[in-house]
């Protein structure tokens, strides 16, 4: 068996384990904060609301349903309003508003549609 001539500096098993646990705890806390930030931001809701608006718009045009409507889903309330556009006979303004469960406006979109 070869005998080491010099004494090598190194962490002991306990020190390494403690270091790994600290990294793990930091990572977990960081991930929790990130998750918290993601959930607390409006982005997630707004992405959902935007998708819901696109879906409602496509359905409205497809079914030619240019009527004022209020549709309640599990998490959102969709409010659809059709109003005449200035003096144009064939064009209407379609406004879709999405409210969350706290009745706070999440997204709002206006567009011109041909309703002749």
């Amino acid at each position: 068996m070869v005998k080491l001539k010099r004494k090598h500096k190194a962490f002991s098993l306990v020190e390494s384990l403690v270091g790994m646990i600290i990294i793990l705890i930091t990572f977990s806390v960081g991930l929790m904060i990130f998750n918290e930030v993601m959930l607390s931001s409006n982005n997630r809701q707004r992405i959902h609301a935007d998708m819901l608006i696109q879906k409602t718009l496509a359905e409205t045009i497809d079914k030619n349903e240019f009527l004022d409507q209020s549709i309640a889903t599990e998490t959102y309330t969709i409010e659809k309003k059709v109003s005449p556009y200035k003096s144009e006979k064939n064009i209407s303004v379609l406004e879709i508003k999405i409210f969350n469960s706290d009745k706070r406006l999440v997204a709002n979109q206006k567009m011109l549609v041909v309703t002749q």
Binding site: T26, F27, V29, G30, L31, I33, F34, V37, M38, S41, N43, R46, I47, D50, E88, N90, I91, V93, Q109, K110, M111, L112, V113, V114
Partner: protein
């Protein structure tokens, strides 16, 4: 550090999300501008860029533009979103489907239409006399089951062409519109590629000193003008451009999409391919003694509009459109002079007189081996406002 990285990543994600929302809003505003201009182009004056508040809330302003581009109406919308500017331009026209499925309108000159050979007419017709005669010309008798597959009505005078189109054509032919940037021929000849967006002013290229255009790629908001005759060879690739010259020759196998105007003649040689929306137009003034003619040679495919008109319809020196054997026109033909068709028109034709010229003679209101078939024209085909004064409300082509 890790938490900082995650927070930073979240921050950038929010920025990207906001940018995406703004861009989507800009695209919606562009679409709204186009919808508005299609429904009512008169909300803005012609040849002017007008800022327009879409919802009167100061948050959705668009820049609207409308002008004539040849026989078409060109509409444009621009939106500025932060530092980005988005544009949408289109050529607009009218739906042809509403035109009672018309195949042929032959002005009433009290002479019946006669058919012979393999002539086919599909679609409704307005003819001088209800009965279509079967004739024996050049040793050929009529071989079809019936001459017209559609309703026949009695025609009256040829409907007059939309005055706006006439004015626009005359303006282009008189070179009065050359107020934008002008490119001299020497500059033009040094460049292989000329692409001018419709967001810029119209680029006028004066080719009066040259007879032939060769090896060029020309696209967009460009008017090529010549006081003399102009030959466009097959080595060119031309798209969306207007060509104005005394006489124009498109050489064999030319491919492109353009609007060409002439006071003398337009000659399209064999095997050319004009893609939609193209237009060839000849115009004769009251004082002119020339015989303006559009000639479409054999095996040429033309998608668009052929127009030949004279200010005063007269028996002598009429304008004429000649469609030779195996040539195919997908679109509409209008001539308040003569139409000589031995090829095919897949669409509709409005003509003052049909004239068949053969080796042995000239026959009035005779068709020999011709096809006029409205049923082969797509129901989505968008035409120009030939007679109507109503708004252009269909997109013919999106432009850059």
């Amino acid at each position: 550090m890790l938490t900082g990285f995650l927070l930073l990543s979240n921050h950038f994600q929010s920025i990207i999300f906001e940018h995406d929302l703004l861009q989507k809003k800009a695209i919606r505003d562009l679409q709204a501008g186009i919808t508005l201009l299609l429904a009512d182009p008169n909300i803005i004056s012609e040849n002017e860029k007008t800022s327009y508040d879409l919802y009167d809330d100061g948050q959705d302003s668009v820049l609207l533009e409308r002008k004539n581009w040849g026989a078409f109406c060109l509409i444009g919308v621009s939106v500025t979103s932060k530092k980005e500017q988005l544009h949408k331009y289109a050529l607009t026209g009218n739906d042809l489907v509403s035109d009672t499925n018309l195949a042929l309108y032959l002005a009433n000159n009290n002479k019946p239409l006669s058919v012979s050979g393999k002539t086919i007419i599909r679609g409704n017709c307005f003819l001088p006399i209800k009965d279509v005669k079967q004739a024996f010309i050049e040793g050929e008798v009529f071989t079809g089951d019936k001459p017209v597959y559609g309703n026949i009505n009695i025609s009256s005078a040829l409907p007059e062409i939309n005055k706006n189109i006439l004015d626009q054509m005359q303006q282009l032919l008189n070179e009065k519109t050359a107020t934008d940037s002008l490119l001299s021929y020497s500059e033009f000849s040094n460049r292989d590629t000329i692409v001018n967006s419709f967001t810029n002013g119209t680029l006028f290229i004066d080719c009066s000193s040259e007879k032939t255009i060769d090896n060029k790629f020309i696209k967009g908001n460009v008017v090529i003008y010549s006081k003399n005759n102009l030959t466009i060879s097959a080595s060119n690739k031309i798209e969306d451009v207007i060509v104005v010259a005394k006489a124009i020759i498109f050489q064999k196998k030319f491919i492109g999409s353009l609007q060409a105007l002439s006071t003398d003649s337009i000659m399209v040689e064999e095997e050319c391919n004009f893609t939609y929306p193209s237009m060839l137009c000849i115009s004769k003034t009251a004082n002119s003694k020339s015989l303006p003619t559009i000639t479409i040679s054999e095996k040429t495919k033309f998608n668009g509009f052929l127009l030949a008109f004279t200010e005063i319809v007269q028996a002598e020196n009429p304008v004429s459109i000649i469609i030779k054997k195996d040539a195919e026109i997908m679109g509409t033909v209008y001539s308040n002079g003569i139409l000589d068709v031995q090829g095919s028109i897949y669409g509709a034709a409005w003509v003052q007189k049909i004239m068949l010229k053969t080796k042995s003679g000239v026959y009035e209101n005779h068709l020999l081996n011709a096809t006029i078939d409205r049923t082969k024209l797509s129901k989505y085909f968008v035409g120009i406002n030939l007679f109507k004064t109503e708004n252009s409300n269909k997109i013919a082509k999106w432009l850059n």
